[in-house]
């Protein structure tokens, strides 16, 4: 079922209990979170607002839609944050060394306790920055060599900008839950 331009009406029985949703395309949706059309109904509310439902929406439906929106925003935020923690390909990254236990233990004669043997280990390998520009051939049939911005850097910057935009648009309560 497509959700384009659909409107909804809440069905209540003679006991005034909500029992389903009548859709303008003739479908009846149950109030069952496991039903895929019900999930699309919640998506529609989140996208278009409560005005797509003829009647006042009950608190349980409002809550279900809000929880779904929250879960989607939280996931997108976490993904965006993870993207920004990656190194800038135009800058590269340095090598990092640290003293790491190698699995062996020796007796510390001063304290009388066994302690880890530490060895210097590379915990992050170095990656050189990419060149800011690259040369490519352009034109057909007469080709000329031109210098352009490195496409890998352009892609990196585009993705980082998109991630930053998601972070900026994320409500604070979602950020706090991350």
């Amino acid at each position: 079922m497509t959700t384009n331009e659909l409107t909804y009406k809440i069905l209540k029985n003679s006991d005034d209990v909500e029992v389903g949703i009548a859709v303008s395309n003739g479908t009846t949706i149950p109030l069952d979170p496991a039903n895929s059309d019900y999930q699309l109904f919640l998506d529609d509310i989140n996208e278009h607002g409560a005005s797509i439902v003829e009647d006042e929406i009950s608190e349980s439906i409002v809550t279900a839609a809000a929880e779904k929106k929250f879960a989607i925003q939280l996931s997108a935020y976490q993904k965006a944050v993870a993207r920004l923690t990656q190194y800038l390909v135009s800058v590269g990254r340095p090598e990092i060394k640290a003293m790491v236990p190698n699995g062996r233990k020796v007796l510390n004669v001063e304290t009388g306790e066994m302690q880890d043997v530490l060895v210097e280990t590379i915990t992050q390998t170095a990656i050189d920055p990419l060149p800011a520009t690259v040369q490519i051939w352009q034109g057909f049939p007469e080709s000329v060599q031109v210098t352009v911005a490195n496409p890998a850097i352009v892609l990196d910057e585009t993705q980082r900008a998109a991630a930053q935009a998601i972070i900026d648009a994320t409500p604070q309560e979602v950020k706090d839950a991350a």
Binding site: L11, S14, T27, S75, K79
Partner: protein
């Protein structure tokens, strides 16, 4: 005293020959079983090993004629149009020779500017966010028969977890096959794709909300008409593609009806209550309990009392996973509460698809 004992003659050649009985692969496996558990494991691997339902396309509850659109046409399979491509799906009797299949699914979009389509099916997970047997590190094999009316078309398969079989707000990253893209010829050919499932990572939303493993047959490409035939699709555990598992058709129909049922020529009566007798509670158990409470659509109903036939301008009926529960109509005139209402459903579609 002398005692004479006579023993029957033993033909050593025959005895040795008996030891070389042609037990076959499965017989050898059973003979090698050390425990009862080994025997059960060996036998169970032959039953319901195909996790996909309707893989040989015998069940078409929605009808076998062309159905444009992106929804389900044949049971358990749906098309995923690329861009605005209009797709048609037909039941075909063009099948690979000698394999025992009766039908294939023909899917086509033959306009020169069509951008093609992909085909999807799914396996329901035990519960939302619970991967069941699709654990990281497990090996799976997808196999099927396919041919294309056009030359130079390709096929690849990927798997993933999702809220629904197409789209949905919660999805994992897809898992690529080990084989990668393969060419589809204009002759029937069996294709095999192997997978080792990774640690699942959310691509959108949350993995706690995924409810199915989707199988996605990637075919579409920009400005390329497509016309493909598919049958005998199987998803099984392990790295080996075994012959297609044929299940009894009644079993296959029951499996399909967990997700979709088309009911026809069914009747139900109820005492009217509410909205001047236009509403009521109808108790009607479905032949198969569905995955979840289904959506009801394509409702065509005759609505009458013992004295009067009414025209219903709109009909809604609510459901549970087990059956219909309540009925809402807008009738041409109000039936009132005097007489019981009789509903005769000429068609009713119930969908609990993922």
């Amino acid at each position: 005293m002398t005692v004479t004992i006579s023993k029957p003659a033993v033909n050593l050649r025959e005895e040795l020959s008996a030891l070389k009985k042609p037990t076959g692969i499965k017989g050898e496996e059973l003979l090698r079983a050390n425990t009862v558990a080994d025997v059960y494991t060996s036998l169970n691997s032959t039953m319901f090993r195909n996790r996909l339902i309707n893989g040989d396309f015998r069940i078409w509850q929605r009808g076998v004629t062309t159905t444009p659109g992106s929804g389900f046409s044949v049971d358990m399979f749906r098309c995923e149009p690329r861009n605005s491509t209009t797709i048609y799906t037909d039941r075909s009797t063009d099948v690979p020779a000698g394999q025992g299949f009766t039908y294939s699914m023909r899917t086509y979009a033959t306009g020169a500017t069509d951008d093609g389509f992909h085909i999807r099916t799914y396996v329901e997970l035990p519960a939302s966010g619970v991967y069941g047997e699709f654990q990281p590190g497990t090996q799976w094999t997808v196999s099927f028969w396919m041919k294309s009316a056009y030359a130079s078309r390709t096929i690849n398969v990927n798997l993933g977890l999702s809220e629904t079989s197409v789209g949905g707000s919660h999805q994992s990253q897809g898992v690529a096959s080990m084989q990668g893209t393969q060419f589809v010829t204009n002759q029937w050919q069996k294709y095999v794709f192997n997978f080792t499932l990774p640690s699942w990572v959310a691509d959108n939303g949350s993995l706690s909300n995924v409810r199915c493993l989707y199988v996605r047959l990637l075919q579409g490409s920009d400005d390329l008409p497509q016309d493909t035939y598919l049958t005998g699709i199987q998803l099984e555990k392990g790295a080996v593609a075994t012959p297609f598992e044929v299940r009894p058709i009644g079993t296959e129909l029951d499996l399909c009806q967990r997700y979709f049922q088309k009911l026809a020529n069914q009747g139900v009566g109820f005492q009217p209550e509410g909205n001047n007798g236009q509403n009521g509670r109808q108790i009607w158990a479905f032949p198969v309990t569905m995955r979840a409470a289904p959506s009801a659509s394509n409702i065509s109903v005759t609505y009458r009392t013992q004295a009067t036939v009414y025209t219903a301008s709109s009909v809604s009926c609510t459901t549970t996973a087990d059956g219909l529960s309540e009925f809402f109509a807008t009738a041409s005139t109000n039936p009132g509460y005097t007489y019981p209402i009789c509903l005769l459903y000429s068609t009713l579609y119930l969908s609990a698809e993922l």
